[in-house]
């Protein structure tokens, strides 16, 4: 039997009422291993104006490259206190923030290892169907052979890679439209 998937609708401007309870900007906990990173994100619209009402969620593997999910059956350690889920809401400057760890490498669809990345979903007023993108880490040699970055035209790959602004701090802009438009995916 086959059913039609329910249509998506916008999260609207009042998303905070229903989603604030699960805001999780710090994914780390004592004992969680891996390189700590702070992410200073920003969401900008087609006029370069900050998007003040976006919900940004991340999903990632732990430092060993293992997802805390039953479908990831590889023999790699899970870590108590690290779920891999983060949720942040943009502020009046369009900024969102996460504190997390750099994930390990996870195999891609073809079995080759992917470069460390965060899986990102973005919701907002004016977006009828959530945006899917990824954030990669600067100066990681694995980026050069990442199977997903390889699907993206070279000139646009940089939109998926964060910038290091100081030790342990990454900046990443999500540009919805126009010059420097971020690459968005369908999965």
């Amino acid at each position: 039997m086959s059913l039609q998937t329910t249509s998506s609708q916008t999260i609207g401007p009042y998303l905070h009422i229903g989603t604030t309870w699960l805001v999780t900007q710090d994914l780390t906990a004592p004992g969680v291993t891996g390189e700590r990173i702070a992410i200073d994100g920003r969401v900008l619209d087609g006029d370069g104006k900050p998007v003040i009402d976006a919900l940004v969620e991340i999903w990632q593997a732990n430092a060993h490259g293992r997802y805390a999910h039953p479908e990831d059956t590889r023999d790699l350690p899970l870590e108590a206190g690290f779920t891999g889920f983060g949720r942040s809401q943009t502020d009046e400057q369009g900024r969102f923030r996460f504190t997390t760890i750099k994930p390990g490498r996870v195999p891609g669809a073809d079995g080759r290892l992917q470069a460390p990345h965060l899986n990102v979903t973005i919701f907002m007023r004016g977006i009828l169907k959530h945006l899917i993108t990824r954030m990669y880490f600067p100066d990681d040699p694995a980026n050069a052979t990442d199977p997903v970055l390889g699907l993206v035209p070279e000139a646009r790959r940089g939109t998926l890679v964060a910038r290091r602004t100081k030790p342990g701090v990454l900046a990443w802009e999500v540009i919805l439209q126009g010059d420097g438009e971020t690459v968005f995916f369908e999965c």
């Binding site: 086959s2 009042y14 309870w21 996870v106 992917q114 995916f185």
Partner: protein, 244 residues
């Protein structure tokens, strides 16, 4: 224990043409500067998309499913019960999955700093709920019927009564945020959000149905609304008999 040999996870079926809105839909003005102009890049399914966050009961409180019991008094408005099942596109129930809802009060007002509609707030109504589906994929909320409200998208624009729903499902690929509407609402055909879905039958599936069975005598009207998340692409099932 040996590492399981890498085998690509089964993908998730794409929704049928016309059943999902496009990003750019100019009648909904906010899409004009927020919609991507480049085509989406197709992402093959890896563990990154086939896994996703799972939530348990630890953060859900007893009254989170009953929006009429979250304050000292009863909210103003018509009490309703909203029930349904969360299924996947293969008609399998999606058990133990988080469902988040939020909505306006009976006067069509949100308790939100950016809602300046001149209608009363209700100190006994926040308008947010959450629950986990049971083993059959069922969910149930008790709330009040939300009011319609004006917005400034176009001249004399009014949103039909709706409840916002947010669901995760089993994987990153199954995330869904949508809105549930009410049967017989004359505002639906004027609503750019609702009308952004090209397929009329898909639009109608966002409209709940009055349900006598779940209506509580003397207390609350029942509305039923099933939600379908994306389903796995065809893979041999454990109980399928494969040809020799």
């Amino acid at each position: 224990m040996a590492t399981t040999p890498p085998r690509p996870p089964a993908g998730y079926r794409k929704p049928d043409r016309g059943t999902q809105p496009d990003y750019l839909f100019p009648p909904y003005a906010s899409t004009v500067k927020r919609s991507p102009s480049h085509p989406l890049v197709l992402l093959p399914t890896s563990l990154s998309e086939a896994t996703g966050p799972l939530f348990g009961f630890e953060r859900i409180r007893a009254n989170d499913f009953d929006l009429t019991k979250q304050h000292s008094g009863a909210p103003i408005g018509e009490r309703i019960v909203v029930t349904g099942r969360v299924l996947d596109a293969n008609a399998k129930p999606v058990a133990n999955t988080l469902v988040e809802i939020w909505q306006a009060n009976a006067a069509g007002r949100y308790p939100h700093k950016r809602d300046n509609h001149d209608a009363p707030t209700d100190p006994n109504f926040t308008g947010a709920g959450r629950t986990l589906t049971d083993s059959e994929g069922r969910y149930r909320f008790v709330t009040i019927r939300p009011g319609e409200y004006p917005w400034r998208n176009h001249y004399n624009a009014w949103r039909p009564a709706h409840i916002h729903f947010s669901l995760f499902g089993p994987a990153f690929a199954t995330r869904l945020v949508t809105q549930m509407y009410f049967p017989g609402d004359p505002l639906l055909e004027y609503d750019p959000m609702y009308m952004s879905i090209p397929d009329e039958r898909a639009r109608r599936r966002l409209v709940s149905a009055f349900d006598w069975e779940t209506t509580i005598p003397e207390t609350a009207l029942g509305y039923k609304w099933d939600i379908v998340l994306r389903g796995r692409e065809e893979t041999p099932m454990d109980n399928d008999v494969l040809p020799a």
